[in-house]
């Protein structure tokens, strides 16, 4: 694939190089073109071979420098030859003239820009910002959305979800998966995956916590990847009791085993059991995300029920089969299962989602919104630069008039001006590329970490071409109008006026005003977008999570089954850990829980209430709850309030009556008019139980993230429900990082083979769940700020120009008795008209544009009046200032001075 891509780059590069060779004089080209192209492509091959596409930018910069220097040199030389008598055939006269003009123009342009260094710097910097921002965002879009997934024929991969209208997408149970896999004809293969954190133990450097995936037979074939070294698991190895084998991830292999292939064939300890390493996954293989090793699923289907959903299913469509065709077949299969197993499968169907959509689906909208926003900023930049150029064109009208009087045709003048703007665009684009490089690095490091494949973002290959296209497009956009305008100079009038003012200023002023209006409108849209993001973020921060994460450290542990085979051993270990940790200095309370609040995920089970008929299968009656396991001190440790009844106590131990604590939402839903205390529920069969008695009610928490609604929740006491994976929560007065270090030591003292992972303050975890909105808000705010500043600069330019132009008129009016404040009012009023006009357009546009991003918002409507008022306020202040300065200057005009000048 790399080769194919490289050859595309090579073909494009050679084509571009051929075109650029026109810069050389005809004679040189005739003699050496073929050799130049050959040599260029040899060097290109070498670069692509050694560095791949990422070598292209530097290579092209060097090549461009080479062409510019040598083409100019060769032309200068030729010019000399021509003067000193070397003749030239007439056939190439016309083309040569054109090229000579271009080089004259380039030289002239460079000189005139050097004379106006300030002007050139402002234009280049503005352009660089606009182009750089666009290239940076595009490179992210390219890496995340446009680059194909690194699997064989990735377009044929699809996720296979269970779907229930009342619940949504759901992972699959083992029996369902097996039926899907065995009954379909549209998939070439289907594999089930479950991710599981495991302890990896090896002599050196001790135990490490890694993410592992258990995968069913044929997983690697389905994904279309072959192991880098060794082999994939066989069908026989996917049977319970088969020899345990493992495929290591490339990263883990490099990091932990030093990239030594001798590890293949060796046995390593994964979660207390020896596994033979049979292969290494290829570099870049990252499915499921961030998994370090893969092991066969090897489960016995008879031990799993149809609603024990825990498997993520991925399938490879057969050759030539469309997603729709497969969906139709899977729907039929699901309907058949529904008929066959109404108890478990009623209302359950299957939903297919292409793997690409699955991975980037959530991030597509924000990324495209950002791309739209930077596009707006670039438009504003173009308008600004066009504005600056127009002002400059006005100032240069006498120069243009003189040149035109001396015989320069309009096309020649336009050519000259376009060359100058082209020069500005190219320099701006070059600087922009550098800024983009910095910008991408900044984006990658600031991003909330939930953007898949972001690490692939960079300024290379297609992104480079995009930058080129943006630069050219920008140059045309901001260059053509001013060039047209300037080359239309009225010679006589300009010369008569001595060139201080443009003769046809009114038309120019109208055009520039139109630019300001559009700038203001664009800026408003961006400001409204940023304002809504900011409000969403603030709303999220204001959300009461239902618990208090302050001063709480968390520490996740998982006990290997070999050493801790049953609940008793697990409970004993965690009890010891709690006791020891409670003794640490500064520790107020220690609790245990199976899944932390607000982190999403968790285990959902359907339940029955004693004495009530089992829930019907109607959609609205899906009766399930989020089930967590907690120790008796958990609620107090994280500050979940006890509303009714009691929490767990020391008495709720194995052998005693099974109890449960539920949340208020569950009470509202299932016992709206009764006392829930003393009621009995079961996750098992309504006939046989086992039953649990509700002993208490706790407050709701935002369990699925701060932007979610609370769901029915059941807590079971840890002492009655031992499990291997628990998270210790420690409330302390002391410094949390020191506390975590001390707690880690406690763990190691109890069992040196255990690995603690994810030891983080709870507050940090909670704020991590709103990292994406924070990122959205920060990025859009930066862009909106840039937009409003640019719009203000544009307005300032137009107003200054207009004031300077009309200083004569203002002088006369002041001589005739107009007061300073009247002048001030008039000028500010003139600016205000533009702003009101642009603002109105912007507000109307915002109403439509913000609807597109409504799903990114929280707690605020796209039409939020507060945001709109705020934006208009900001706009009024900024542009007020921008037009006040020129107005103030106008009001200080000394009538005498002006009138003398006239």
């Amino acid at each position: 694939m790399t080769r194919a891509r490289s050859s595309v780059f090579a073909a494009v590069s050679i084509g571009v190089y051929r075109a650029l060779l026109w810069a050389y004089p005809q004679s040189f080209r005739a003699a050496y073109r073929q050799d130049l192209v050959e040599t260029f492509s040899d060097r290109l091959d070498a670069v692509l071979r050694e560095r791949g596409p990422r070598g292209l930018p530097v290579f092209w910069l060097r090549t461009l420098r080479d062409i510019v220097t040598n083409a100019t040199g060769a032309r200068a030389q030729q010019f000399q030859v021509a003067i000193t008598g070397g003749g030239r055939g007439p056939h190439s006269q016309r083309k040569a003239n054109l090229m000579e003009n271009l080089f004259q123009d380039l030289g002239y342009g460079l000189r005139s820009l050097r004379k106006n260094l300030g002007f050139a710097a402002v234009v280049v910097f503005t352009l660089a910002l606009g182009i750089g921002a666009n290239v940076a965002i595009f490179s992210v879009v390219h890496a995340v959305l446009l680059t194909p997934l690194p699997y064989g024929s990735p377009e044929r991969l699809a996720m296979v979800w269970g779907f229930n209208p009342g619940i949504g997408r759901e992972v699959a149970s083992l029996p369902d998966f097996l039926d899907w896999r065995d009954q379909n004809t549209t998939f070439a293969g289907m594999s089930a995956v479950v991710v599981q954190s495991v302890n990896l133990t090896d002599a050196d450097p001790g135990t490490e916590r890694v993410r592992g995936a258990r995968v069913s037979d044929g997983f690697f074939q389905v994904m279309g990847v072959a192991p880098f070294v060794g082999r994939a698991p066989t069908t026989e190895e996917d049977i319970p009791g088969a020899e345990r084998v493992v495929v290591l991830g490339y990263g883990l292999w490099q990091r932990r085993f030093g990239g030594d292939t001798a590890v293949v064939g060796r046995a390593v300890d994964v979660h207390g059991n020896m596994h033979v390493v049979i292969g290494i996954a290829p570099p870049g293989f990252d499915f499921p995300r961030e998994v370090d090793l893969w092991m066969p699923l090897a489960l016995d289907p008879t031990r799993f029920g149809r609603r024990g959903d825990f498997l993520t299913v991925v399938g490879r469509l057969g050759d030539g089969v469309s997603l729709d065709e497969a969906q139709t077949e899977m729907t039929t299969i699901a309907a058949r299962l529904e008929e066959e197993y109404p108890q478990s499968n009623a209302d359950w169907t299957v939903q297919l989602v292409s793997l690409h959509e699955q991975i980037v689906g959530n991030i597509r909208l924000p990324l495209l919104a950002f791309l739209g926003a930077v596009g707006f900023v670039l438009l504003i930049v173009c308008a600004n630069v066009a504005n600056l150029l127009l002002a400059r064109a006005a100032a240069r009208s006498s120069e243009m008039a003189v040149r035109s009087a001396l015989g320069a045709g309009r096309s020649r003048l336009m050519g000259q001006l376009l060359t100058e703007t082209g020069l500005l665009a190219v320099i701006g684009g070059g600087v922009g590329l550098l800024l983009a490089k910095l910008g991408v690095d900044a984006l990658v490091s600031l991003s909330p970490g939930n953007i898949p494949r972001l690490e692939g973002a960079g300024v290379e290959g297609p992104v480079f071409l995009f930058a080129l296209a943006v630069t050219v497009g920008t140059g045309l956009l901001f260059g053509v109008a001013p060039a047209l305008q300037a080359s239309r100079t009225n010679i006589a009038a300009s010369l008569r006026q001595g060139g201080s003012r443009a003769a046809d200023g009114s038309r120019s002023f109208r055009f520039r005003s139109a630019l300001v209006v559009s700038q203001v409108a664009l800026a408003i849209v961006l400001l409204v977008g940023a304002g809504l993001m900011m409000r969403s973020f603030m709303e999220l921060q204001r959300v009461d999570p239902g618990f208090d994460p302050g001063g709480v450290a968390t520490m996740r542990l998982s006990l290997p089954g070999a050493q801790y085979p049953d609940a008793e051993a697990q409970v004993a270990f965690y009890r010891q850990l709690s006791e020891r940790t409670s003794g640490l200095p500064g520790v107020a309370r220690v609790g245990l829980v199976s899944d932390l609040p607000a982190m999403g995920g968790g285990n959902y089970l359907s339940f029955a209430v004693e004495g009530r008929p089992p829930p019907s299968n109607a959609v609205s009656m899906v009766q399930d709850a989020h089930v967590s396991t907690a120790s008796f001190s958990y609620f107090r440790t994280v500050g979940i309030p006890m509303m009714r009844g009691r929490g767990f106590t020391d008495q709720d131990r194995s052998g005693a009556e099974a109890v449960a604590v539920i949340n208020e939402t569950m009470v509202r839903q299932y016992w709206p008019d009764e006392d829930p205390i003393g009621q009995r529920i079961t996750f098992g069969s309504p006939q046989t139980g086992p039953w649990m008695t509700v002993v208490g009610v706790v407050g709701d928490i935002k369990d699925q993230g701060l932007d979610s609604e609370p769901y029915a929740q059941v807590y079971r006491p840890f002492a009655q429900n031992g499990r291997a994976s628990m998270t210790a929560v420690v409330k302390a007065e002391s410094d949390l990082s020191a506390l975590i270090a001390a707690a880690r030591r406690q763990v190691r003292e109890i069992d040196p083979a255990l690995a603690v992972y994810a030891a983080t303050p709870l507050a940090e975890l909670v704020s991590g769940t709103i990292a994406q909105p924070r990122f959205n808000f920060l990025l859009t705010t930066v862009l909106a700020a840039a937009a409003i500043v640019l719009a203000a600069v544009g307005l300032y330019g137009v107003m200054s120009y207009s004031v300077a132009e009309r200083s004569g008129e203002i002088g006369v009016r002041m001589a005739l008795g107009a007061t300073q404040s009247a002048v001030l009012r008039q000028v500010v009023g003139q600016g205000a008209i533009l702003v009101v006009f642009g603002g109105a357009i912007g507000v109307v546009a915002s109403v439509f544009v913000t609807r597109l991003i409504s799903t990114l918002l929280f707690g605020v409507q796209p039409g939020d009046p507060l945001t709109y008022f705020g934006v208009v306020g900001v706009l009024a202040v900024v542009v007020g200032a921008a037009s006040y300065i020129p107005a103030f200057r106008a009001s200080r005009v000394d009538p005498m001075v002006v009138l003398r000048e006239e």
């Binding site: 040189f28 050496y32 050959e38 040599t39 420098r65 080479d66």
Partner: protein, 118 residues
């Protein structure tokens, strides 16, 4: 306009090309690679610079397009090979002598201390 070389120091690029060609015929890309190796990567010729220098050297009669081609199995039909003329060899030698004299003078002025003496 095949004038003879008018003397004066050669440009560094030109001297490097002459040095490469002193070993035998070569085409453009091999000259680029050869100079790069010779100068430890300090002189990296771009195609434009190379062919303009080759144009000047041809015009001045220091090099010419090779008539003999390398052995057929080594030959690349698309490419143009260059070789040193007798005059080119003389000029390169003169330039080398001039440089050697410069080095002598530098040594006499104690500028090359620690770089080893004869």
């Amino acid at each position: 306009m095949a004038t003879t070389h008018t003397g004066g120091p050669l440009r560094p690029v030109e001297f490097q090309i002459l040095l490469v060609l002193a070993d035998g015929e070569a085409h453009g890309y091999s000259i680029i690679r050869e100079t790069e190796t010779r100068t430890d990567g300090e002189m990296r010729l771009e195609p434009g610079t190379l062919y303009r220098a080759l144009q000047r050297l041809t015009r001045d009669g220091l090099i010419r397009e090779a008539e003999r081609r390398p052995a057929p199995e080594l030959d690349d039909q698309r490419r143009r090979y260059f070789s040193l003329t007798d005059e080119g060899r003389e000029v390169a030698a003169a330039e080398a002598r001039r440089m050697a004299r410069l080095v002598e003078e530098a040594r006499a002025a104690d500028l090359l201390k620690g770089l080893g003496t004869r």
